[in-house]
């Protein structure tokens, strides 16, 4: 669809009414790939919350769980604390780069195969076909008078759509609470889970609206990706392309065979319109690259079927480039260059960030320490003239066992360290016990008798040593002398 098409509207009105699109069913290689990916992605989405992962007693046993009340994110063997949210940033950067790489290799292939909008729209179209019949039938029913049978079908279709939408919203909330418990609570109308109902409601509504009623309009009007991808693609990226060098001039089958018998060239395209009939966004791919094209390849399947029937070779429409069409027409060999500067840079960045995250994850400390200097007052003078600074120190024990941490300081000689609420042991050591998977905030007082000699700030190091393993974390701060 070109912008001229989209602007075509009743003169005088600012808005073009939506043209109903009835995509026709199609079979073929790309359709099979799409079914496979649809089954895979939806099963992951619907079933993942039910996968269990044993983390020992007291910890949730759900493989993937966003635990907002306790501020934890669980992903199989990984447990993310709020201060480690950079993993999420890394993941988002990776996702963006993978999208860029996919785009540099094969255009908007994400849109056609993996985008949730495409996947659910496909599912909704399948439901629609199952109840109301294929494209031609649906168009006829919508144009004709409403009979009782048509009303029954419409009600059945919308009910099935709503059911899918509801199940979609239902699966969403399962990522935020223990799935079996929540399913039971939802099924038995337990009180106190109003957030779950609200979120199911929101997701049901958006799924039903976007996949059922808005479909290609989401891709054409709402989604920014077609605009962005135009800036990310280049002449070597594969796109669903009508090979006009082979297809043009269009003519009837009879004309074409007559011409070929006479030894004259003839186009392969018989203008059957099947590529347009099956397109979920109503694009005519023969008009050239279009921002409406989501690269799903269904027109390739449709065209291949026709080419097979008329005994011409397949892939009149194929993943190819405009540039290659031009080159072939000029008698030059087509060029395929998956290895280009941009794809290599994207791949390298993906590898680098992936490696960085893996390394960070592998060497992840399961204990953390944070030190906050009292700001008001910065320093306190005591009776004997010595200076004391106070710090808020938080010990984090990110393991499944309760552990004990020994607090030590260095940098300020002869500093006396005291932790409010913690008695030193016989050797005078400060040991703080922290429960499994918990943090403990302590108030630490550091008194320095010789502080008068050092005006201003003196660096001080706080070290927390895990007693059993001797693993330690050190944080730097300052001792302030007035």
């Amino acid at each position: 669809m070109t912008s001229a098409d989209m602007g075509k509207a009743k003169s005088g009105s600012l808005y073009a009414p939506r043209k109903a699109i009835y995509p026709k069913e199609v079979e073929g290689e790309f359709r099979r790939i799409k079914w496979g990916l649809l089954a895979f992605t939806l099963s992951v989405y619907y079933l993942l919350p039910f996968v269990r992962w044993d983390r020992g007693p007291g910890a949730p046993s759900q493989a993937v769980l966003v635990d907002f009340p306790h501020r934890r994110f669980y992903f199989f063997f990984i447990e993310i604390w709020p201060q480690e949210v950079y993993y999420l940033t890394g993941l988002l950067i990776l996702a963006a780069l993978v999208l860029f790489l996919m785009n540099a290799l094969a255009g908007r292939v994400w849109c056609g195969y993996l985008c949730p909008q495409t996947v659910w729209t496909d599912l909704y179209l399948a439901a629609e076909r199952w109840i109301e019949g294929d494209a031609r039938e649906r168009a006829r029913k919508d144009a004709g008078p409403r009979s009782a049978k048509i009303w029954r079908e419409k009600i059945a279709k919308h009910s099935l759509w709503l059911l899918i939408a509801w199940w979609t919203g239902g699966a969403w909330v399962l990522y935020f609470a223990d799935a079996p418990t929540l399913v039971y609570a939802l099924a038995t109308f337990q009180p106190g889970i109003s957030e779950a109902y609200i979120w199911i409601g929101i997701l049901t509504f958006t799924t039903y609206m976007l996949a059922g009623h808005m479909r290609e309009q989401v891709c054409l009007y709402m989604c920014p990706w077609p605009r962005i991808q135009a800036a990310l693609t280049d002449e070597y990226a594969l796109n669903v392309t009508y090979r006009y060098d082979r297809g043009e001039p269009r003519m009837s089958l009879k004309q074409a065979s007559a011409l070929r018998l006479a030894g004259a060239p003839a186009g392969d395209c018989v203008d059957c319109g099947q590529c347009v009939a099956v397109c979920p966004t109503g694009v005519d791919i023969r008009k050239g690259a279009s921002f409406g094209c989501v690269q799903c390849g269904l027109c390739i399947d449709a065209c291949d079927a026709v080419m097979g029937k008329i005994g011409r070779s397949a892939r009149l429409i194929a993943y190819d480039t405009q540039m290659n069409c031009d080159r072939r027409r000029k008698g030059e060999a087509p060029v395929y260059k998956p290895l280009r500067a941009r794809t290599i840079i994207y791949a390298a960045l993906i590898l680098a960030i992936g490696a960085l995250m893996t390394a960070k994850l592998a060497t992840r400390e399961d204990a953390a320490l944070s030190v906050l200097h009292d700001r008001n007052p910065l320093a306190v003078t005591l009776k004997d003239g010595s200076i004391r600074n106070a710090y808020t120190i938080r010990f984090a024990n990110m393991s499944a066992e309760p552990r004990r941490f020994l607090l030590e300081t260095s940098g300020v000689e002869d500093a006396e360290v005291e932790i409010v609420g913690v008695e030193p042991d016989i050797e005078g050591r400060m040991i703080v016990g922290v429960g499994a998977d918990q943090t403990r905030e302590t108030r630490v007082l550091v008194t320095w008798r010789g502080a008068r000699r050092a005006k201003g700030q003196t660096p001080i190091l706080f070290t927390s040593k895990e007693l059993e393993s001797d693993a330690s974390v050190t944080m730097r701060d300052v001792f302030v002398t007035p």
């Binding site: 007052p377 005591l382 609420g421």
Partner: protein
Amino acid sequence: MSTRQAHSDAARIDPHSKTRTTGHEWDGIEELDTPLPRWWVITFYATILWSIGYFLAYPALPTLSGGTQGLIGWHSRASVARDMEQLNEIRGPVLERLANAPLEEIEARPQLLSAVRALGAAAFANNCAGCHGAGAQGAKGYPNLNDDDWLWGGKLADIRRTIEHGVRWDADKETRSETMPAFGRDGMLDAKQISIVADQVRAMAKLPGGKATPQGAKLFDDNCSVCHGVDGKGNHDMGAPNLTDALWLFGSDKETIASRIANGGGGVMPAWKDRLDEPTIKALTIYVHTLGGGE
């Protein structure tokens, strides 16, 4: 004044859009009479109906002595009360444990200690920060609660008593009432004697320029040692400051010390017993004790 032009007052059909005009014309540009979409108009009327309902249901019109109350009896105070109730419900278990635990034990229980410190910090900010400062760092005449110098004692029980009954707070019978006499103003010492005592005190505190004399020692013994002790180390029971340490509530220069001797008196702290509830006073006691000065 009208910007309309007389000749174009009549509505007509615009030839380009085939739409009626309103007849308004400015510099040759006419206004089309485009009706609003129906849903828009319905929404508009619905908001008017809604506002009438809202107007009746909630307090809306101010009157000379108050205002209309609204039909559903909603009141902002009632919703605050409900919020407070919910808050107390959440805090309930902690407050109960706090009420039952002796002061000395609370500090040894990490979870209770952190809850009490949070509660105490909030109560401190609301009630105490005005004089003692946001971080309890004090100011001239207002004690720093972070240090280890205590006029009336820094044990849990001492701190609690000070909070409950205040200092020199006449409305409370159990308040701490001892006051430094005004030796100069009341004619017990003359200016020269005050100067000598001030020098003596500064010598006892080992402040530079301090000067101990036999006369000073005698004057101190006769007038000051009753409260401040023979060695000048002060007395918690009387709120008499230690005069030999490094901390001076009002300042350590000779002029200030002389003025304190001459005019006497001391700071005042309100009694909080009737204004704060038991758990809050307990939390404040612990909070102040854990600031670092607690004995």
